[in-house]
């Protein structure tokens, strides 16, 4: 009996490759477990087995049955695979490209903006927003920029007609609407809305009446930061910008403040950075933007007491930052949307 069963299994195993279709499979199966199948016959033979051998032979029969079922499973699997593959046609060529569109990307200006946001958010800033069309008051007067300041000239700033009415941009009084020249307008609107502490960044589009060339654009993007609280110092300002530049340009980055003049900060500085990466641009120190301590007159305009609060503000161009980061030599590429340019900056998810 034992030998019969062993032979039965090895015969079934050897038979697997020959079973290619479902009818063949059925016939194959019937050969063992059909009414006249060899296993069926063996099972019937258990009656003749002496009583003391029955448990052993019973077990053996069960094992044989199990093994046969495994063999059938393998056969059926191979048949199903064959049928499925036939249904799906020719085998694939894994080297062929997907006909679906290539991955999308975020614009490099968005990537740099989001990277700056990410870094500054990690030290507690939040993004604030405001309108691109703003008014002379929020863009200049409240920022201590006098009426006859050259920046306010029609040569340099885009204005809307005196009769223009904006439903969702409020005026201070009867001043003109304009396209904001910096996102400091957002700082004013935020400070008018809330009491200190204020800690915001305001990225966004700005406009200056420049003729467009390789380094100028009438429309550009800026990010500005503002922190107002009790006891904010020049040293804090330096610390946050050091942190930002090290994060952005590499941990070997050094930064430097050069005294400068802006109507809305006192003291005012231009900030330079220097690093191995930036040196590739060809200069020891690369100018990045402006910063300083909020001018007392700005606090007066928003009703903060300069005796109680101090604050810092900083701002720089995102285009300039991206140009330095990536070594881009023409600002117009950012607005041309040439895919060969845009797809070079492909990290849509990570930033």
């Amino acid at each position: 009996m034992e030998d019969t069963l062993k032979a039965l299994i090895s015969e079934a195993e050897e038979g697997i490759p020959a079973v290619r279709t479902r009818p063949e499979f059925e016939a194959f199966k019937a050969r063992y477990v059909g009414p006249h199948g060899s296993l069926t016959r063996a099972m019937r033979g258990i009656k003749q087995v002496p009583r003391e051998d029955k448990p052993r032979i019973g077990k053996l029969l069960n094992r044989t049955k199990k093994r046969l079922e495994e063999v059938f499973e393998v056969c059926l699997g191979a048949i199903e695979d064959g049928e499925q593959a036939a249904k799906w046609g020719e085998a694939i060529d894994p080297s062929l490209p997907s006909p679906d569109p290539p991955p999308g990307n975020l614009h490099p200006l968005t990537q740099v903006r989001e990277e700056i946001n990410r870094i500054l958010k990690s030290v507690g800033f939040a993004v604030a927003d405001g309108p691109e069309v703003d008014t002379e008051y929020f863009c200049f007067d409240a920022l201590n920029t006098p009426e006859d300041h050259p920046a306010r000239d029609e040569q340099d700033t885009f204005y809307l007609p005196a009769q223009a009415k904006f439903a969702n941009v409020n005026k201070f009084s009867e001043e003109r609407y304009l396209l904001r020249t910096h996102t400091s307008t957002v700082q004013i609107r935020t400070m008018l809305r809330q009491r200190p502490p204020v800690r915001i960044i305001s990225p966004g589009r700005c406009y200056r009446r420049d003729t467009t060339d390789a380094t100028h654009s009438a429309s550009f993007t800026q990010v500005e930061g503002l922190y107002v609280d009790k006891g904010v110092t020049v040293r804090d300002l330096k610390a946050v910008l050091d942190f930002l530049f090290k994060s952005l340009f590499g941990s070997d980055t050094r930064s430097r403040f050069r005294p400068h003049f802006f109507p809305y900060t006192e003291p005012s500085y231009e900030m330079d950075a220097s690093s191995a990466h930036l040196k590739k641009v060809g200069k020891e120190w690369v100018e990045l933007g402006g910063c300083g301590m909020v001018d007392p007159n700005v606090f007066a305009a928003v009703g903060y007491d300069p005796e109680v609060y101090s604050g810092y503000a900083f701002g720089f161009g995102i285009e300039r930052c991206a140009m330095i980061l990536y070594g881009i030599d023409d600002i117009r590429y950012f607005y041309q949307n040439d895919y060969r340019f845009l797809r070079q900056f492909g990290h849509p998810v990570s930033c």
């Binding site: 990307n105 069309v133 110092t233 020049v234 330096k238 006192e266 607005y335 895919y339 845009l342």
Partner: protein, 815 residues
């Protein structure tokens, strides 16, 4: 502004500083050095005077001479090869010795040419950096001593710094002003030019002045006017040193008197004007507003039409000078001038700025007046000029000084405590250092314990608050010495503005859906907007002062910019087919403009594709699915408002294949999705189809606090499903029928169990369906909270529903 190092040497000794150190100091003082120029002979090491002792022809090169040259009389002469021909034995020439470097980085080594050795090089002017001539050697006149370093033979080299002087520092638009800053920075002494005329002892009588008087009719625009008379000058070219200074800073020497006024302007920052006294009609100066339309021919030979806002210096008959801006050809000092009236004044800065702008005429003089000259500096400058005139042009001062008005008051006292400066800075330094800095800047400091009173000098109109003094201190203390510190901030629970986080979500989603982000200018042309958005009133979107004819209006949609991007990339065959942009746009409603947040996406399906495998094309429903996600991220309830088909009239979207939802006024947003019209696609030279969508939202609509979500329990039992097909008018929206059917099913089911969902699973037209009708097949899913539904109870409800549909709607049930 250009600053000459040689000129600066008159006020501060910088001989121990290199050009680089000075440039660094200027940068760190807040005067950005934009360029450093060298004039004259650069500093050259190992280039000395040599003498040619002999000259022979090179045995193997006709054009070369072999010379013996002595550069040290105690040492043997050097052998030198030379290609020039303009020299003779005995000439003295510059010789670059082995090991020297010439301008342009040319290193001199011992060389050998066709078998003859050469040690050092005799130089041409070009090789020395002294001009263009490279044909011949530079032959030195006057037998300079052999071996003398060449810079001693050409001592007039100079370094010129091109500085950016910020508008708050008009006091530094002069050599003395910059000298003062450097003196304070380096801790050196500042030497003022010495006046030969003692201003305290001017005669008040004597020969009378050259003019009768000065009448100022606009004292608000001209608070102080001083006129001195000088008789008998001899106009001639200026001496070389003066011409040299002026040329170094790009000024053209004219004649001694004019050069002196320019020199004083660049030395002290006070513009002066010299009149030819004999050209002043009526011997009288009148400072008045110009008459409307009055004309004057300025020194640049242009006729200027004046208006009554502009101040002029006139005689009895005509305007002679646009005050503070530019003189006229009429009263110019020329070679025949013998008598001079010298003007030194203080003009109201905004008025000068306005005039200069209006005339489009800026001069060294207007540049300074409009920023504000030293209110107390007029007299000193005039006397300085008189000293120089008498020294260089002769003549004598006659008559008393004529002064109309007075120096504007400048007394300012700032109360400050040194602790305030330390608090703002955030680091420590002693009181003494603060005092030192303020005094170096010529501020008077009076101290009583921690209460200081600081009085800045008259020329520092920018200092009037404690913050201004803090800045001055930090500037001179050195902003490069601000100590490093960790970022230390208290926690704040605040989040990003809703628009910012929405923009982030939208752009990430679309980028992940294989769209490329684009950024376009937000100014567009009138033509384009009126062509595609003709229903809008363009006027409120127009800029008052556009700079380019194709950028005159605020954009009303992101779609045209995205079409530009597709067109641009199509023309360049870059393969870009899916684009999106996130940005602000502007909509006009009843002549009022709304600034809106917008996101738009387009898919270009070219007629001819190059892909090896065909895909089912992006269609209306693909766009709908994307819009669903965009709207959801913005918290907009598109479903309950419902899409409407675009019914013509719109000019971008194709009727019957596009839809819109929402209105700005009612819902705070609008969205369009679908297929762009062929006319649009053609206009942008795209051969194929373009689909997409655009969403525009009022920013105020975003970020409405939704509060916390409360969990609703849901059934743990299986659903029961039924299908029902209805024949309806083909013009009906599926959603209309679906809603109606759902409502009826809920009514029929009542409280027995829930209708969980109704969804369309088939839309059919054709055989078996009457013309003008379509069949909509719905799947209804019922479920109870507390049990498994039986066929019986569901069947009852379903048959009641069918009865209801037959009875109360025009729809027919299809079997």
């Amino acid at each position: 502004m250009l600053i000459s190092l040689n000129w600066l040497g008159n006020y501060i000794d910088l001989s121990d500083k290199t050009g680089e150190e000075i440039a660094h100091a200027l940068n760190m003082l807040g005067f950005e050095v934009e360029a450093v120029g060298e004039t004259g002979l650069p500093q050259l090491e190992k280039v000395v005077v040599g003498q040619v002792l002999s000259r022979d022809r090179h045995p193997n090169a006709d054009r070369l001479g072999v010379c013996r040259v002595t550069v040290d009389e105690t040492d043997a002469p050097l052998q030198n090869l030379c290609g020039a021909s303009n020299y003779r034995v005995g000439d003295r020439v510059p010789v670059a010795l082995v090991g020297s470097t010439l301008p342009g980085g040319h290193k001199i080594d011992a060389t050998e040419l066709r078998g003859v050795k050469s040690f050092g090089m005799m130089c041409s002017p070009l090789e020395m950096g002294l001009g263009e001539d490279h044909e011949g050697l530079l032959i030195l006149d006057g037998e300079p001593e052999i071996g003398t370093p060449i810079n001693r033979v050409f001592p007039d080299s100079d370094t010129v710094f091109d500085l950016e002087v910020t508008p708050n520092r008009p006091d530094c638009l002069s050599h003395l002003g910059i000298g003062r800053e450097l003196a304070a920075y380096f801790g050196k002494e500042l030497v003022y030019p010495e006046l030969k005329t003692d201003p305290g002892h001017l005669p008040s009588t004597g020969p009378s002045a050259l003019i009768e008087g000065v009448t100022v009719l606009s004292p608000e625009n001209c608070p102080n006017y001083i006129a001195y008379s000088i008789r008998g000058v001899k106009i001639a070219p200026s001496p070389d040193w003066l011409q040299g200074y002026l040329r170094a800073v790009d000024q053209r020497p004219i004649n001694n008197v004019v050069d002196i006024t320019n020199f004083v302007l660049l030395e002290l920052g006070q513009p002066l004007h010299a009149f030819d006294a004999n050209k002043i009609g009526g011997r009288e100066i009148i400072v008045r507003q110009a008459q409307e339309g009055e004309t004057i021919v300025t020194l640049d030979n242009k006729e200027r039409i004046l208006n009554s806002d502009m101040l002029v210096i006139a005689d009895a008959e005509k305007p002679l000078v646009v005050a503070g801006v530019m003189g006229s050809v009429e009263a110019e000092v020329d070679e025949n001038t013998v008598d001079i009236v010298l003007e030194s004044a203080y003009f109201n800065p905004p008025n000068i700025r306005k005039t200069s702008r209006r005339l489009g005429l800026s001069s060294d003089s207007s540049y300074r007046f409009e920023r504000g000259v030293d209110p107390n500096g007029a007299d000193f400058a005039a006397l300085r000029a008189i000293d120089l005139i008498m020294e260089m042009a002769g003549g004598e001062r006659v008559g008393p000084v004529i002064q109309t008005g007075a120096e504007p008051a400048v007394e300012r006292e700032i109360a400050i405590s040194p602790q305030y400066i330390r608090n703002l800075a955030g680091f420590d330094f002693p009181d003494g250092r603060i005092r030192e800095v303020l005094r170096a800047l010529e501020c008077a400091v009076r101290e009583r314990d921690d209460h200081w009173k600081v009085e800045p000098p008259s020329w520092r109109g920018d200092l009037y608050r404690p913050a201004d003094l803090a800045e001055e201190f930090l500037r001179l203390y050195g902003s490069d010495r601000i100590p490093d510190a960790p970022v230390a901030m208290s926690g704040m629970d605040h989040r990003d503005a809703p628009v910012a986080s929405l923009a982030r979500q939208h752009s990430r989603y679309l980028a992940n859906r294989h769209f490329q982000e684009c950024i376009n200018y937000s100014l567009r042309s009138e033509d384009e907007i009126s062509r595609w958005f003709g229903h809008l009133d363009l006027d409120p979107l127009r800029l008052e002062n556009p700079i380019a004819s194709d950028q005159t209006h605020l954009r009303v949609s992101l779609i045209p910019g995205l079409l530009d991007a597709l067109k641009f990339n199509r023309a360049r065959d870059t393969g870009l087919e899916r684009v999106f942009e996130v940005g602000n746009i502007f909509h006009e409603r009843e002549r009022r403009v709304y600034e809106l947040f917008s996101v738009a996406f387009l898919v270009f399906i070219p007629d001819r594709t190059t892909s090896w495998k065909k895909r089912e094309a992006f269609d209306f429903y693909s766009a709908k699915s994307i819009m669903e996600v965009l709207a959801k991220a913005a918290g907009l309830d598109i479903e309950s408002i419902g899409y409407r088909t675009v019914d013509g009239g719109g000019s971008l979207w194709l009727q019957g294949h596009s839809a819109s939802v929402g209105t700005l006024t009612d819902d705070g947003f609008e969205a369009q999705i679908g297929r762009l019209r062929f006319k649009v696609v053609k206009e942008w030279d795209l051969e194929g189809d373009v689909l997409g969508g655009s969403l525009e939202i009022l920013p105020a609509k975003l970020g409405e606090d939704e509060g916390l979500v409360t969990y609703r329990p849901f059934s743990q039992f299986p659903p029961a499903a039924k299908d029902l097909a209805l024949v309806v008018d083909e013009s009906l929206l599926a959603e209309t029928v679906r809603c109606q059917l759902g409502k009826m099913a809920r009514q029929v089911a009542g409280k027995r169990f829930d209708l969980e969902a109704v969804s369309v699973f088939d839309v059919y037209k054709g055989e078996g369906i009457p013309k003008g009708k379509k069949s909509l097949a719905f799947n209804l899913r019922f479920r109870a909270n507390d049990r498994t539904l039986t066929d019986k109870e569901v069947g009852e409800v379903f048959s009641a529903l069918q009865d209801r549909v037959e009875a109360s709607t025009p729809y027919r049930i299809r079997n």
